[in-house]
Amino acid sequence: MHTTPISRATVAALALAAIAAGVPGCEPSFSDRPSLVSGPKILAVRSEPAEAAPGTAVVLSALVVDTQGTVTAPPSAWGFCRAPKLVAENAAVSPDCTGEAAIAPIANTLGGVTGTVPPDACSLFGPETASGSNLRPRDPDPTGGFYTPVRLRANEQMAFGLLRTRCDLANAPGDIVTAFAQAYQANKNPRIASLTRVDDVKEAAFASATRGESVRLRIRWADADAEHYPFYDATTVTLIDRRESIRVSFYTTAGSFDLDRSGRDEADPNTFTDDVWHAPGDAGTVHLWFVLRDSRGGVAFTTTSITVD
């Protein structure tokens, strides 16, 4: 932990602000970086298709890494969590999902991991309520979606993927429900179109770097990957057209990124994002990973290993 040095003028300014706002005088800065892979990690969990209705099959995969690169076929245990979280829970899943009692295992076969979305997913994690039960429908996420938790244990790590589950629109007039059903297209996983290094304005393949070099990296995706989708606005009782935002997470086993994550919000029409990677001072092989996520739960990832001369 360290405190970033600041100028006297800034100190005076911050003191002014601190007095007025009562904000804390000193916030610790942790040296830990999400983008640095210093041991086993699960970086992404992916479902194909990205959105599925209850009772349909999905193929699950994950990006599991360590300092030696991507871990292929790691010993892993998959399962659907069947414990819904409390309505006022901050976390993505119920704390019960960390135990075994709430887990419905998914068979891990040689051909991959194929699971079937629980038939009752829309009542466990979605807006459906039993007829006459008078229970409160679950709230959707900001994109209007509902998600079934998928737990992965691998390399002594635990991660939760959230499988977007196709459920009916709740609490909307019938005509809106019909229009929504007709307009809505299930989410598709995005793709990483390219990974390049940018020198001035010229893009080139990213294959090598020198020690201590700072390399501007660019991740591109297709315009269609930031999909448009209908969104039910309960305030105005209308359907509105929205577009996915895109986030990219950067990881490296050595050196550092300026940004741990970058991306474009839904109003930004650009289809790329940049980050600067600072190569380590020592020569050797460095593994880098790039995970692209859309705001409806779609995932894509790519990896590259380069030699630092």
Partner: protein, 830 residues
């Protein structure tokens, strides 16, 4: 750890509050100024009246010799009519003097009134020692309610002392001090005059910030103006200005109070067990009395400092009408960018606030007046943490304001005091937060109206009856969208900076909560004891536009219900011995649900009122004429508190339940040296424990704001034109729930904490020393300049304000509070 260079830089950080002033010429107003800090001469509208007479012990030797005598005493009275000091003006000999003083100290008076408001007073009293031949003397003579003077009592011999009735204090010997107060002190309450409060270090002269240093009050979290009193939630304590409820005592940042210090006469904190006149809160009561407007000339005050600018003007308009207006506006948000990088304002939220007060007093007669008052306050705060990652963008936009207008009619006579205060106003609160793509907005606009009325009348020789009406209506429009977990509630388990859940909902509703509460109370004096019995008849009308969530375009189905209850309140005050008073008080209290809690989506329309029971026992010892020691033990129990449902699938429109209950208990000590010869000091210490649980839980957990130990020591001494002050504060840290592990959320690329037992950890203890020095420069023509230096955290102690975690919760750090901050300011009065 903070680096040495950075720490040195912090240590040298000095914020200068400078005051620039302009003048509107007014001559020789210093002495009579009502706003400049100098005592003001005011009109005595009601003489103090002897209610309880205690006969003196006739010196045996004198009686044996048949000697009579008269001792002329000066008796100082508090605003409640208690004798605070007795001195001899004209001696009749040490034995007669001692006997007269001992007796007079046990007197009790109906208080004097200044400008029709109860006030401390000083009277001249002649105690006659006479001997009468009566074979059946009255051993305990009843004082005349309106005693006639006996300038030449007949020296009729008597075996027992039979003092003459007191001399009514002639106007020319009655001195009424400027620290006048308007409302009767609540049992167990601590009242601080504005003159004392403005000297407290660390408050930058803000009179109402002194409340945070009174016993029973927890140290508020940094960046908040919350009041946690006797283990009650911040929103459970009511703030009244001249009896009119306002939503907060401080601006949102806690930096300033919502009314100017120059508007305040005194502030009183009643942490609990208050009387039947007040309600609607499970916690404590803060009562602010406004200042009277001086009658003897205009006064103008204009000032500016680093934080804000203020202007005030007060003047008599006619013989019977006088008015004042005060306004304050902050500009720190505009000032900081001039001396810092552009993004400082984006990184550190810089609040903007303002307030105004206007008051006009109409004297309708010698004992009757009407005050017309308008006051308002606003707060604004904008903060955006930008990021190239759309999931990491955070923004906060906060707006809040309130306005009140009220008329306060006061009429008093020898036997009664009547006060009627109708009021109306508006409150608006708009919070818009965005965590990545997750919104959390809450807008509440409320029209407020009400009436407070009371009539206190003497009934017989030893009793008073107070009949009152306390009504408050609140019609609210509530609009809310976003995560259910924002704003957070007491009992939520989270860590600082944790993003909210990304399940979002939306709702709009209208609510109307009307509380009409007639009350009646009786004070009965029996010997050395005074018993107060009261009852408050609570009538709650709770209405809302939706009892179920909105589904499409279905029409609204509202709800309306009436809840009636009787809440008894009682107090007993017993003078156990000379200088020792024991007070016991208790009662039942209720509080209506907040408008946003009645939402069919985010709350529960069926919520009822929450309940509390308070009990306290206080022992007050007057050590010297100006020094008191008071120990108070208290216990509170709370029930029917709204809490979040513990079900993953709750019933429709039942997100909140009333299954919360709590308790708090403890004791507090207050050693107080009243302002005498320029010196005052107090030491307050509170030890307490406050707990909550869900009905059915086996064990209680610690209340989120539990603070077992709170200590505050304040001292101020005036030497010539200098005044020195010190304040030391120490307190336990707030409870926090430890993080024992974390899980990775691969959809949002973030870690979520896994928590241990709720509130099982605690922030490190806090302590801080503040110092203040000021000097007055007389400038002639009635003007004076006061310059002060207020240094907070003199020892630069790194106080822990919050725990913060690394991104994966593997490591924990501490956010520390402010370093040494020196504030220099100036004030010109003329």
């Amino acid at each position: 750890m903070r680096s040495r260079s950075a720490k040195a830089a912090w240590l040298t950080a000095c914020v200068t509050l400078f005051a620039c002033t302009c003048s509107i010429h007014a001559v020789a107003q210093e002495k009579s100024s009502d706003v400049g800090g100098a005592p003001a001469k005011r009109r005595l509208t009601k003489m103090p009246k002897l209610e309880r007479f205690v006969p003196a012990e006739y010196p045996k030797a004198r009686r044996d010799k048949g000697e009579t005598a008269s001792v002329l005493l000066t008796i100082e009275l508090s605003a409640t009519g208690e004798v605070t000091k007795v001195t001899v003006q004209a001696s009749a000999g040490a034995d007669f003097d001692e006997a007269a003083i001992a007796a007079a100290k046990q007197f009790h008076f109906e208080p004097a009134e200044v400008d029709n408001k109860p006030a401390p007073a000083k009277i001249t009293y002649r105690y006659d020692f006479t001997l009468t031949p009566s074979p059946s003397p009255s051993p305990n003579p009843s004082p005349s309610p309106n005693p006639s003077p006996s300038p030449n009592p007949s020296p009729s011999p008597s075996p027992n002392p039979s003092p003459s009735p007191p001399l009514p204090p002639p106007p020319d010997v009655t001195t009424v001090e400027a620290r006048s107060t308007t409302s009767r002190k609540e049992t167990g309450g601590v009242r601080v005059s504005a003159d004392e409060a403005r000297r407290v270090p660390g408050t930058q002269g803000d009179v109402l910030k002194v409340v945070q240093n009174l016993p029973g009050v927890s140290r508020p979290p940094l960046a908040s103006g919350q009041l946690v009193v006797w283990g009650s939630a911040p929103n459970d304590t009511r703030v009244l200005i001249d009896g009119v409820e306002v939503p907060a005592l401080y601006h949102g940042s806690g930096l300033r109070s919502v009314v100017s210090s120059d508007f305040v006469s005194s502030v009183e904190l009643s942490p609990g067990a208050f009387g039947a006149e007040y309600g609607r809160g499970l916690g404590g009561l803060v009562r602010v009395d406004s200042r009277n407007i001086a009658k003897d000339g205009p006064h103008t005050f204009v000032a500016a400092d680093t934080l804000d600018a203020a202007v005030m003007h007060a003047r008599p308009i006619t013989e019977d009408v006088r008015a004042s207006v005060l306004a304050r506006y902050s500009y720190l948000d505009a000032l900081v960018p001039l001396v810092s990088s552009r993004d400082t304002g984006a990184t550190f939220p810089i609040p903007r606030y303002g307030d105004f007060q206007a008051k006009t007093t109409f004297d309708l007669g010698p004992r009757e007046s009407v005050d017309l008052v308008g006051l308002g306050s606003f707060d604004a705060l904008d903060r955006t943490v930008s990021s190239p990652d759309p999931g990491s963008v955070r923004s906060v936009q906060s707006r809040s304001s309130f306005e009140r207008v009220y008329a306060r009619w006061v009429s008093s006579s020898q036997s009664q005091t009547s006060i009627v205060t109708p009021f109306a106003g508006y409150e608006d609160s708009r919070q818009a937060l965005h965590f990545g793509g997750t919104p959390a907005t809450l807008d509440v606009g409320s029209a407020v109206y009400g009436l407070r009325a009371s009539r206190r009348e003497k009934v017989g020789e030893r009793a008073h009856v107070t009949v009152g009406m306390d009504a408050l209506g609140r019609a609210s429009n509530v609009s809310r969208q976003g995560s259910l977990t924002l704003p957070p509630r007491e009992g939520d388990v989270s860590v600082f900076g944790q993003p909210p859940g990304d399940d979002v909902a939306t709702d709009r509703e209208k609510t109307h909560v009307l509380n009409v509460a007639p009350d009646v109370a009786t004070d009965i004096a029996i010997g050395p004891a005074t018993f107060t019995l009261g009852v408050r008849m609570e009538n709650y009308l709770i209405e809302g536009s939706r009892q179920t969530p909105k589904v499409g375009l279905t029409p609204e189905i509202g709800f309306s219900r009436l809840e009636l209850a009787f809440d008894p309140r009682a107090a007993a005050r017993i003078r156990v011995a000379d200088g020792l008073v024991v007070t016991a008080a208790g009662g039942f209290y209720r509080q209506a649900p907040a408008p946003e809690d009645l939402s069919a989506v985010f709350g529960t329309p069926a919520l009822s009122v929450s309940k509390a029971t308070h009990a306290s026992l206080a022992e007050e010892v007057r050590v010297t004429e100006t020094t008191t020691v008071e120990v108070t033990e208290f216990v509170k129990s709370l029930s029917d508190l709204p809490v979040r449902t513990q079900l993953p699938s709750p019933i429709l429109a039942r997100v909140l339940t009333q299954n919360g209950e709590g308790r708090s208990f403890g004791a507090q000590l207050l050693v107080r040296q009243e302002l005498t010869r320029g010196f005052f000091a107090w030491l307050s210490y509170t030890i307490s424990r406050s707990e909550r649980r869900i009905v059915g839980d086996d064990r209680y957990r610690l209340f989120d704001y539990d603070q077992p130990h709170v200590l505050a020591a304040v001292a101020s001494y005036e030497v010539g034109r200098f005044t020195f002050g010190l304040r030391f504060r120490a307190s336990s840290g707030y409870p926090r729930t430890p993080v024992v592990a974390s899980t990775y959320d691969a959809k949002n690329d973030r870690y979520d904490p896994v928590f241990g037992a709720q509130n099982a950890a605690r922030l490190p203890a806090f302590y801080q020393l503040d110092a203040k020095i000021d000097r007055v420069f007389p400038l002639g023509l009635g003007r004076k300049l006061t310059v002060y230096l207020d240094v907070e955290n003199v020892t630069a102690h790194d106080n822990a304000e919050e725990y913060v975690y690394s991104f994966d919760y593997a490591r924990r750090g501490i956010i520390t509070g402010l370093p040494t901050i020196a504030v220099v300011g100036a004030r010109l009065d003329f």
